[in-house]
Symmetry: C2
Subunit: 396 residues, 2 copies
Amino acid sequence: MTKKIDSHRRRFLVTSAAGGAAAGLAGIAPSALARGKPLPGYASWKDADSLIVHSSNTMETVRGAFGTSGVTASDRLFVRNNLTPPEGVTANPGAWQVELQGVTNPRAFTLAELMTLGLESVPMVMQCSGNGRGFFAHKVGGTQWKTGAAGCVFFSGVPVKTLVAMQGGVRQGMRYMTSTGGESLPAGVDAKRVRVERSVPWTAMDSAILAWEMNGEPLPLAHGGPLRIVIPGYYGVNNVKYVKTVAFTVDETDTRIQSSSYRMRGIGQKGAPSQPSMWEMNLKSFVTGPDGESPVKAGMVQIHGVAWAGTSSVKGVEVSLDGGKSWKAASLIGSLVGPYAWRNFVLPARLDKGTYTITSRAIGFDGQVQPELRVENERGYGHNGWRDHAVTVTVA
Amino acid sequence: MTKKIDSHRRRFLVTSAAGGAAAGLAGIAPSALARGKPLPGYASWKDADSLIVHSSNTMETVRGAFGTSGVTASDRLFVRNNLTPPEGVTANPGAWQVELQGVTNPRAFTLAELMTLGLESVPMVMQCSGNGRGFFAHKVGGTQWKTGAAGCVFFSGVPVKTLVAMQGGVRQGMRYMTSTGGESLPAGVDAKRVRVERSVPWTAMDSAILAWEMNGEPLPLAHGGPLRIVIPGYYGVNNVKYVKTVAFTVDETDTRIQSSSYRMRGIGQKGAPSQPSMWEMNLKSFVTGPDGESPVKAGMVQIHGVAWAGTSSVKGVEVSLDGGKSWKAASLIGSLVGPYAWRNFVLPARLDKGTYTITSRAIGFDGQVQPELRVENERGYGHNGWRDHAVTVTVA
């Protein structure tokens, strides 16, 4: 591990320079080795200093490590796998096959063929449904994500609608687009209980891409390579990795991950298909600097963070230094890099010595305002309440 | 080196999957170790398979390795240093100092302070003035770049105009913004002959940023970290690395890199201040896939590439399969991520067996069309002629 960290330090000069220094000084942040377990092999190329390793399938980006450039660096992007990535796909990615079903002429495509059929690219927010779960007060199982199960990355691949048009269109009566992951299932388990198979409204096909590239490089195994379906504006779980089948279906799949998991339900309730599924992301923002860890000196501070609105767009962001008693309009910086990307925002502020509760709330183009409180729910999904996302900053 | 390549292969599954496969199959490209020298220490974190190492100061992105997502991955971005990067700046980047001169109240800023004063981000093309030099027919010294001394990356930092306003504005009569690099000069040399100090029209200040971040991570030493001035739309040499001084000046600097180098001049002419300086980039595009190396099978091919227009914007791109006899309109894909970014384009084409000369020409919003021929000039600068940038593709 020492060698790896030295290599990262040499590259970027210093740990968390952007986060720490933007908060007022450029000190060395504590080593991420103290933040969790070692990185697993398939993610060993990640920047350990920027990640909290919850488990071999779940790694969270540190709040101060998002940067301010619009794009999340691949080696800082969170990882959340439902199952161990499939083995043996690295030898010949072009031979990876995906089945298109529920169209007039169903057929299989190899990845090598897909690459000849169309090309589109989209910058988009990828966020786990459970991002923010760590802020819930009831006893909720699953990874205790705070802010870092999210990132904004660029995908490229072939539009699903291109393939559907080639194959004669969606068959009549189909209401869902159902994608199945290609993970090898553990022996002896009930496939319906563990298989990653998700349904979304079939109209999501219009913006969906079968992606083989992320941030200008072949899609890494840790993020669903060689082939992943991405559905801009939808929670991470719908963006099925190692995708083996895309089927237009009459009904939602009856796999557990669809029928009872990833459902908004009251605390203590069992999951059921009648409850809202984790599809489109809600309006959200949070402050990424100061990050609540790096020391902040009295004087000017550039309070910055990220904001997005699922399948809609952000009109503005407000920042509070006093836990929500008063708000000031922040500026959106950079360009709108795409309709599904997040915006970086900044509020310059002069901070005297003292303790501040700093938070942000996004305002959507539809006039919606990011809410103060979380929606209490059994599994801790969809948390966009600005109060819990505040950082406490002591200015010395 | 074996270990490093294994790590990259594990991450991205296969070498050049995007480039090779987009051209019709996903075979393994030849190892980049055959493409040049080993990566130098300060760039050892780069993806060797995506780079041609011309020298320890010059590394070129392979034509097929640019990707199609709008952003160039940092580990694939070209490197062109005029001098060896300074030593010893990694220990405390926040202490890096830059002087602001030629304003009403000149002063020095540490990087730690700059980070408290403002924040802006910009996606932009970075391109060496000599990109394309390898296509010139006369005997021209310097790195023989073909297409790969260019990339599109996201920078963040503080706007120069913010600092200028803080310090009372530019002093009257100043016509240039002159930036000086902080490289340690070799002992016993004439500083004027080797110092990296460049002047641009002072109005370029409006979009210039003192940047400490690239693609969401602290700016690597290889790209000018801890602090670089970036001037969107201008050739790379003006984006001074390890920037130590930004001065508003009456005249252009008399360093050699300004007064006689980086000048458009006829073959055989000596460089002089009266000749056009390499400032704003011209209208340019090139095909990145097929890349002329990876095999292409008969059938559908997604011909793709990149196009940009310096400080202006691209309206469209046309592609020719017959060396410029006939042209078809390509589609721009993805979003316009910013006014100084490049656009990815694609033209789907059905190719029978045979040999094709594939090239592209960009069309600017001002109606300008990328020219057929290079402008012959002593140093091989500013090459945007579409004929030389063609790839010869044999379809089997």
